[in-house]
């Protein structure tokens, strides 16, 4: 599927992308509202995430964006990215 660089991901696409990038290893049936911290999104993985998001969507996530609430689930993370790309 060809996706424009500007198009923000939906939560399911985001799950696939996190796996493809090697940021996290999520089960194929990982829920859109699943707990990302519990799945290994710790401060080290977050650094990889920020770099990969910047590569893919050309947006910069700063310290103020990296809150537990924003990184809680694929849904909230997709919303964070969407907010920056719009």
């Amino acid at each position: 599927m060809e996706v424009s660089k500007k198009t923000s991901p939906n939560p399911t696409e985001l799950i696939d992308w996190l796996n493809d990038e090697g940021v996290l290893e999520l089960d194929w049936d990982f829920p859109e509202g699943g707990d990302l911290a519990g799945a290994g999104l710790d401060s080290m993985a977050v650094m990889q995430l920020v770099v990969a998001v910047e590569d893919r969507w050309h947006i910069e996530l700063g310290p103020e964006d990296l809150t537990k609430a924003n990184l809680a689930t694929p849904i909230t993370l997709a919303a964070l990215i969407a907010g920056k790309t719009s």
Partner: protein, 401 residues
């Protein structure tokens, strides 16, 4: 102090987690044992390199609660550490770990060693030669006074680098960089912000911002900070590779190690400087201690009567002659993308056969710790301190049994 004389029943080369376990276990049977280490204290990675977590102590399980995998010395050390720190096992993701403090570890090891009348400790000594003389081993120890010689009937190589294989001229193998697991550079920090999850995430954002702006080197990506359990103190950890950041690293090459140590300190200094300038919660923080040496995850390994494989670990294979259980998932630190964990089917533990502690074709020699006979993948599981206690204990028992 007089140099040790006469024939020892056993000499243990390297006083890390495996060597302490081996020497104390052997000495408890009454065997006259010599434990040799190059530093001013024992503990190896857990003290000199500030690795502050005992991994591999507990079974993998989905149910809550940590269950010890290997009774005996590993369990004993865990109990002593919990008593010292007041902190029990923690569930981190899918694994249970025991936070440990290097300062407590040094003291606990001193006390365990001092309690054994038939155990002699020799610090500040590098082994510079090993040879077979009649029915025993002659070991050359190098200290500031020169070369000293000691004799022992049996030998355990718990050096982490298969030092005895190097001195005997073979019987070992080493993965090549960049596949070799990256070393960890761990340092102490005082007066930093609280290490709540929220502040850790914020700090991660500051690090990326610092790299983006060219204030700190890209090598700092993946740095992590964790509370030490002592008031105001945290540990920082950075995974490092060779000087070009990608390829050549040889943990046996002192020039490589020199580069690693200096770079670790430089990056840590730059990171702290950046965080102090950029964040109120970091403004009073300072680096309070350096490791004696960088933490090596993988080095030269012995080739034994059996080589434990990654396939064995993934399947949770068991053996009739197993002497310990490996429970840590295979933890790969091969590239800058952070740790990758491979879990065994059904969280099964893997048996470590005694044959992994028996170098092929050499009598009266055992190996324990991270340099036992395992392939690159299995070594990514068995290298952790909790498992090293268990292989050390088994080697100590087998050597004098």
């Amino acid at each position: 102090m007089k140099p040790p004389r006469g024939l020892f029943d056993l000499a243990v080369i390297g006083g890390g987690s495996a060597g302490i376990a081996a020497a104390v276990t052997a000495a408890r049977t009454g065997a006259r044992t010599l434990l040799i280490d190059r530093h001013g204290f024992t503990g190896g990675m857990g003290t000199a390199s500030l690795v502050h977590t005992f991994c591999g102590l507990y079974l993998l399980r989905t149910e809550p609660g940590a269950v010890i995998a290997n009774p005996g010395f590993a369990s004993e050390i865990a109990g002593l550490m919990i008593h010292a720190t007041g902190v029990g096992p923690l569930r981190m993701g899918r694994v249970d770990v025991l936070p440990q403090h290097p300062v407590d570890f040094v003291r606990i090891a001193d006390e365990l060693i001092a309690a054994e009348p038939s155990l002699e400790l020799r610090l500040h000594s590098e082994v510079s030669g090993v040879s077979r003389k009649d029915e025993h081993w002659e070991i050359q120890l190098c200290g500031r006074a020169g070369i000293d010689r000691v004799d022992a009937r049996k030998l355990i190589d718990s050096s982490g680098d298969a030092v005895v294989a190097g001195l005997l001229g073979g019987g070992s193998v080493m993965s090549e960089s960049p596949r070799l697991q990256r070393p960890a550079y761990v340092f102490g920090v005082h007066s930093a912000a609280s290490m709540s999850e929220e502040s850790r995430l914020h700090t991660a954002g500051l690090i990326v911002e610092g790299i983006r702006g060219g204030h700190i080197p890209a090598d700092a990506l993946g740095i992590s900070f964790r509370a030490s359990g002592r008031a105001g103190e945290i540990f920082g950890s950075i995974d490092l590779a060779g000087s070009d950041g990608v390829s050549i690293f040889n943990p046996l090459d002192t020039a490589c190690l020199t580069d690693l140590e200096v770079r670790g300190r430089r990056i840590a200094t730059q990171v702290l400087r950046w965080l102090c300038a950029r964040s109120e919660s970091w403004q009073d923080a300072y680096i309070s201690h350096w490791p004696v040496r960088a933490g090596i995850r993988e080095s030269r390994r012995w080739i034994g009567e059996y080589t434990l494989t990654g396939t064995d670990v993934l399947a949770g294979k068991r053996f009739d002659d197993e002497i310990a259980l490996a429970t840590w998932p295979m933890e790969f630190r091969e590239d800058a993308k952070g740790p990758k964990l491979r879990y065994p089917k059904g969280n099964r533990p893997t048996g470590i056969p005694v044959r992994c502690l028996r170098p092929l074709g050499i009598h009266d020699l055992w190996v324990a710790g991270r340099c036992i006979s395992a392939d690159h993948e299995a070594q990514a599981s068995i290298r952790v301190m909790g498992t090293c206690f268990a292989t050390g204990e088994a080697a100590g028992r087998a050597a004098v049994g």
